[in-house]
Symmetry: D2
Subunit: 163 residues, 4 copies
């Protein structure tokens, strides 16, 4: 099938706190896996009504095949969306996959990881392949047929030989 080229290597995550995981997670830990990174803000209506429910369906439908990771990328109302608020939010909305809090420079706007990934806003759904490359980055309302198709193709790619 030839090799897939021209895709950006997914930058490392800069996370200040993790939920729903006993250990901090890194892309290195997940090497060889297909990863879906769901960037959201807990007070973003489109994230609550569409982005997170889709991520939850992905986690259920592709259990064992795709690792779904949430990234809380707060770029506005910083004081309103602290980790203590996020924790209650995740509990109430039954978000069970690991969620990291994206790091901030001081009180700055766009957080560190969000900037590294060049995301335009929330919700954003980023698909990372087994070789750790960004293959798709979707902003806004994602089409489920398209997402299902893209994930199947990433799942079916061979795991790269260990480095």
């Amino acid at each position: 099938m030839g090799s897939v080229t021209g895709f950006q290597q997914a930058p490392p995550w800069e996370v200040t706190r993790w939920f729903n995981t006993e250990h901090p997670l890194t892309l290195t830990d997940l090497a060889g896996e297909v990863v879906v990174l769901e960037a959201f803000q807990m007070l973003c209506p489109g994230c609550v009504s569409h982005g997170l429910p889709l991520a939850q369906r992905i986690a259920r439908t592709f259990a064992g095949e795709v690792k779904v990771i949430g990234l809380h990328t707060v770029f506005e109302h910083h004081a309103a969306m602290t980790p203590v608020s996020l924790e209650a939010f995740l509990f109430e909305y039954r978000v069970n996959f690991p969620v990291g809090v994206d790091a901030h420079e001081q009180d700055g706007g766009v957080p560190v990881t969000m900037a590294r990934y060049g995301l335009r806003g929330t919700p954003s759904l980023v698909m990372i392949d087994r070789a750790g490359r960004i293959r798709h980055s979707l902003f806004g309302h994602a089409d489920e047929l398209t997402v299902g198709a893209a994930l199947a193709r990433l799942i079916d790619e061979p795991r790269p030989a260990p480095g």
Copy 2:
């Protein structure tokens, strides 16, 4: 049509902070008006998906006829739903009607006004008539035809003569 009897006088609101209003609001200020009190928590999924959108539709449909007032009745995850978080929530979800933060005894569970009204949970929709009495108190998913009918009847009742 005769008099309506046997209904509880609506207890006063114990509010520590108001949003979307320049002055604190009391039932006395609203005497003679039909009032809808929407009790909610910003991290309660049913409030976000149903309770608040219904309250917003009531405010639009019965503009000038019904006063819609939100009451943030936090009885769990207190530290997660502070006024600063609520303010961002109201902005993001475009809640424009006045919202009061229900007072707490220390760090206690059910807040003061919620207890006075005997509410079972959130969302709850309370309809108060022109004479300041609780006429309906609905917990959970409210039926819109029923709510519309009840409000029309309260609107059509005569204003009581000033005491």
Copy 3:
């Protein structure tokens, strides 16, 4: 409260066949009742997704207070929406209230009753008061709070003295 004036008397229905009723229905039979007339076509997508479900909710919510009557007002695709097709449609969609088939002049477009009521299309929801007058005629997507309020007011009007 004074008398309500200036409303058109609801024209008689010209129905060629009835479903869900043992006897043909006329406005005269229903004198003194609040009547909701739901004009629809079985192949009209907006009728299937919104108009008829609303009529069904009205029939349930105001059981014993409002008579809901369907009127199959076919003005296009006449051969496609015959009574035999309508009968299966009503069964499959669990429409239980009485439904009349509006009469046609020859193969003409707008059927007789629909023309008499001046309806613009389907779905249309017509509210008829206890005195047999058209009080509201809504075309398209009807707002449930508004419909609930209007029906409550019609229900609360006194039955006229028999003429």
Copy 4:
């Protein structure tokens, strides 16, 4: 990737009339293509609310990659769902892909093609691979992520060498 074995060859379609295509269609004509067969009845509520909208989204999302074919498999209310009614239905619901009317034995229940495919009811979504084999047959409410994934895999299979 090795060969896929153990799947039933899709039986031929027994169609009495076609819509939305100038010529009758056969599986032989479509050899080498990925085909989605959407079995429906025009008066089946689940087909109208879920099955057909999904088939329409598949046709749009995978335009040029998947052939979507409707099959009108009437097994009840035969007189109510004649081709003339179906034609109006397809127009009103903007179903643009080819639709065939499944043949009946006399006035019998399950039509010929539906029986050959062993379908349990409507809506059913059948996916046929490039080699003409039934790979998936889903009855009822189909999950979009799963359908998208399955189609991607069928699309990516090589066209078989002409026999």
